[in-house]
Amino acid sequence: MKNSRLSFFLFLLSVGQFSILNSQFSVGTVSAQNVTVTGSIQSDMLVPQNDERTGALKDEAFLANVYADVLLQSKTVDAGLRFEYLEHPLPGFENDFQGWGVPNFWVKARWGCAELTGGTFYEQFGSGFILRTYEERSLGIDNSLLGGRVVLKPLKGLAVKAFTGVQRHYWKWNKSWMSGADAEIHLNEWIPQMQMSGTRLMLGGSWVNKYEQQEDVYADPTHMYNFPEFVNAWDVRANLNKGPWNLLLEYAQKSQDPSFDNGYNYDKGSAAMFSGSYSKKGLSLLLQVKRSENMSFRSRRSQLGTSSFLNHLPAFTQDQTYALAALYPYATQLADGEWAWQGEAGYNFKRRTVLGGKYGMNVKANYSHVRWQGVTYYQDIDVQLSRKLSKSFKLNLMYMNQRYNKTVIEGEGGMVRSNIFIADGLYQIAPKVKLRTELQYLQTADDQGDWAFGLLELSLAPRWMFTISDMWNNGSTKTHYYLGQITFNIKSHRIQAGYGRTRAGYNCSGGVCRYVPATTGFTLSYNYNF
C-alpha cells in the first residue's frame, strides 16, 4: 500500500513537471507534420478527516481521482486514449469504481463520406431513449462501448450510423453484445421550397439490439426464469424548426427485457416525448411532456446501481445550480415509469423601458411535475428575476416551491415540501475586481428542517478567486457545513485548494444521482488543458 502511494505521488510530480514543461515550450497544442496533439489532466484530491459532527470518516489518508486524456488529430486519422487512476477514489463511488488503467482508447479514420472508429467510443441516438453512452466524472459514469462504428454521409442531408461492440463496466467489459443503427434525414436539404421558407424538418429512426446469454436467476427456489437472449429497441423521431418555433416528437419501444430493475417483468417498455419551444424578441416559451414505462435498458440484466445503462431519459426537471435549490434533486425513474411535464416562460425587458429600467431585466418562470400511477414524484415551481440595478451591481432573485418524494427517489423519507428564497448579488468593485454574494433560505417542516446558506466570492481577474461559504441546518442537526477555497488560474493551469465540510447527500446531473457520504478535510484540484 505504501509503495502504491509513493508511486502515485511520483506520478503526480511527473505529471506536474510534464505540464509545466509543455506550457513553457508551447501554449495550447503541439504541431508537427500536420499532427495536432491536445489533451487535459484533471486531478481532484482529498485529505479526509474524521468528523463526529457530520459522520465523516477518514478511511484512508489520501484520496484522489485522476484523469489524463491525449488526442492526436490529423487530416484523415485521429487517435486518443485516457489514463485513469482511481485506486484510492474520492468517497461516494461504487466499489467497482476502484482501479487504474487505460479504459479509453480509439482510432478514427475519415475517407470520403465515411468515418470509421475502432476502439472505445461514445454514441447517442436521438434523445437517448434507446442509446446514450457518455462520461460524467462527478457521477462516476462511463458507459462507453468497445467495438467498431461507421458513420456515413453519402448525400447532403442524410447521415447513417452503425455500430457493434461490448459495454464498459468500470474495469471490465460486460459479456453481452450490442449492435445498432441510426439514420437521420434532413428533408429541407432536398426540398427547395422548405429552404426558401426557412423550414427545417428532420426525420430519424434508430434500432439497438442486445444479445445476452441465459443466466441462473430464480423466481422461487424451484423455478428459474427463462430469459429472452435478444432484446430489441427502436426509436423514431421528427424535429421541425421554423423561425422562432421548434417542435420535437419522439417515440421509442423496447421488447421483453426482464431485469433486476423491473422485477423480472416480461412487459415491453415504451417512451414518448413532445417538446415545443418558441423564442423571439426577448420572449421564450418551452413546453415538454414525456411518458415512459419500463424503459430501464442495461447491457447486464442483473446489474444494479449506476453502471451498465445503455440508454438515458432526460429528467424534465431544471438542473439547479444554487446550493439549496439543488438540495433535493430529482433522478429519472427508469424502471417503473413516469409522466413528466415541464413548462417555462421567460421574457427580457429591454433597457430604458418602464419595467426594464435603465439596464434591462430578465424574468423567468418554470414549472416541472413528475408523477406515476397517482403518486407525485417531484414538482417545482420557480420564478427568477435578474436585474442590473446600477452600472456596477447586478441582482438575481429566485423563489422556488418544491415537492420531493424522498421515498421514491432515495428509498425512504416521505414527501419533502419546501420553499426556497435566493438572492445573488454581483458587485463590480473595480475593472478587475468582482464580489459576489449569495444568501439562500430553505423553509420546510419535513426531513431535517430549515437550511440557510451564505457565500462570499471575491474574483481578482485574471488569476485569483477566494470563496467562503456556509450551509447551516437550522432544523434537527444545527450543523454548519463551512467551506473555504482559493482558486488560481495561470495560462492553461487551474489550481483550487480548500478546506471544509460537505454534507451527505445526492450529486445529480441530468437525472442521474449518486449518493455521496459526508466529508471533512483539505481538498486540492488541478486542471490542465494543452
Binding site: 424451484t222 429472452p228 432484446v231
Partner: protein, 260 residues
C-alpha cells in the same frame, strides 16, 4: 451468396426472443442438501425493498427447512432503524459494524456462506450452489435458559481434514412485531420480524477455533440476554468460518429450565 450472408447477418442481429407467458419459468428440482448454509440478510426497517428479501428467505425455508438453510436478519447500515419515541428499532451497533466491514453498498443484500455480496434475487441460486458442497465438520448446539442466563454447549466433529478459523455464536429472536417501511412508503406497524440478530455472544468476530479430522470438541458459553427479549422466541446460531467462507453452521432453539 453475398446477399444470403447479409440476410443471415441481419436476421441474427434483429432476432427477437419473445417468451410466451407459459414458457417464462423453468422447473428445477430442489437441490439435495449436503451441508447447512448460512444466509446473512443485511436489512433495515427503513428499507422499502427489504420485505422482498424476507419473502425470498421464507420461500427458501419452506423448500429446504431451517435444518439446511439458516437465515439471520442483520439490522443496520444506512436504512437500519435504532428506534425513537414512537417506534421500536432493531438496528444494533454490531449490525452497523458488519455492514461497514463487508463494504456493502445497498439493502437488502445478503452473504451466502460469506462468498461475496449477493442481491436478494440471486439468493436462491447461491443457496442451491452451496447446498451441493460438502462440509469439513459437523456442528450441534444446545442452549438452556436458567434464571435469566443462557448456557450454551457447542459440539463440533471434524469430518474432512484440518479446519482452522473462527467460531462465531449469535443470539437471534423471532416473532418481533415492529414497524417496517413497505413498498409505496407505507409504514406497517404490525410487521413480524423473524431471525433478528440481537447480539453476538462471543464477540463481534468470534473466537479462534481449530479441529482435526475425526476430532471431537466442545465449547461452553454463557450469556445474559436483555430482559425485554422474549426467551420463548430466542435461538442460537453457531458457525465456523475463515477466509474461504462459512465452513458449517447450526441453529438451536432455547430450552427453558422449569422449576416446580
Amino acid at each position: 451468396m453475398n446477399k444470403i450472408y447479409l440476410s443471415l447477418i441481419l436476421f441474427l442481429l434483429t432476432a427477437c426472443s419473445y417468451i410466451e407467458e407459459g414458457d417464462r419459468l423453468i422447473y428445477v428440482k430442489p437441490e439435495s442438501a449436503r451441508r447447512v448454509v448460512l444466509l446473512e440478510d443485511f436489512t433495515g426497517q427503513r428499507c422499502v425493498n427489504c420485505p422482498k428479501g424476507t419473502e425470498v428467505i421464507e420461500q427458501l425455508l419452506q423448500t429446504y427447512g431451517d435444518s439446511a438453510v439458516i437465515a439471520v436478519g442483520i439490522h443496520g447500515g444506512p436504512l437500519g432503524f435504532a428506534g425513537n419515541a414512537k417506534y421500536d428499532g432493531l438496528a444494533t451497533e454490531s449490525g452497523d459494524k458488519y455492514f461497514t466491514y463487508w463494504g456493502l453498498e445497498y439493502q437488502p443484500v445478503g452473504l451466502v456462506n460469506r462468498h461475496g455480496a449477493v442481491k436478494y434475487t440471486d439468493w436462491a441460486a447461491a443457496v442451491r450452489d452451496e447446498l451441493s458442497k460438502s462440509a469439513p465438520l459437523r456442528l450441534d448446539v444446545d442452549a438452556i435458559m436458567d434464571k435469566g442466563q443462557i448456557d450454551i454447549m457447542i459440539s463440533a466433529y471434524g469430518t474432512d481434514g484440518d479446519v482452522t478459523g473462527k467460531l462465531q455464536v449469535w443470539l437471534l429472536e423471532d416473532s418481533i412485531t415492529a414497524m417496517q417501511l413497505m413498498p409505496g412508503n407505507v409504514i406497517n406497524t404490525s410487521y413480524v420480524h423473524n431471525h433478528v440478530l440481537r447480539a453476538p455472544i462471543n464477540g463481534l468476530w468470534g473466537d479462534d477455533f481449530a479441529i482435526g479430522e475425526g476430532e471431537q470438541k466442545e465449547r461452553v458459553l454463557t450469556f445474559q440476554p436483555d430482559a425485554a427479549w422474549n426467551p420463548e422466541h430466542l435461538s442460537i446460531v453457531a458457525f465456523v468460518y475463515n477466509n474461504s467462507g462459512v465452513l458449517q453452521v447450526t441453529k438451536g432453539t432455547l430450552n427453558q429450565k422449569k422449576y416446580e
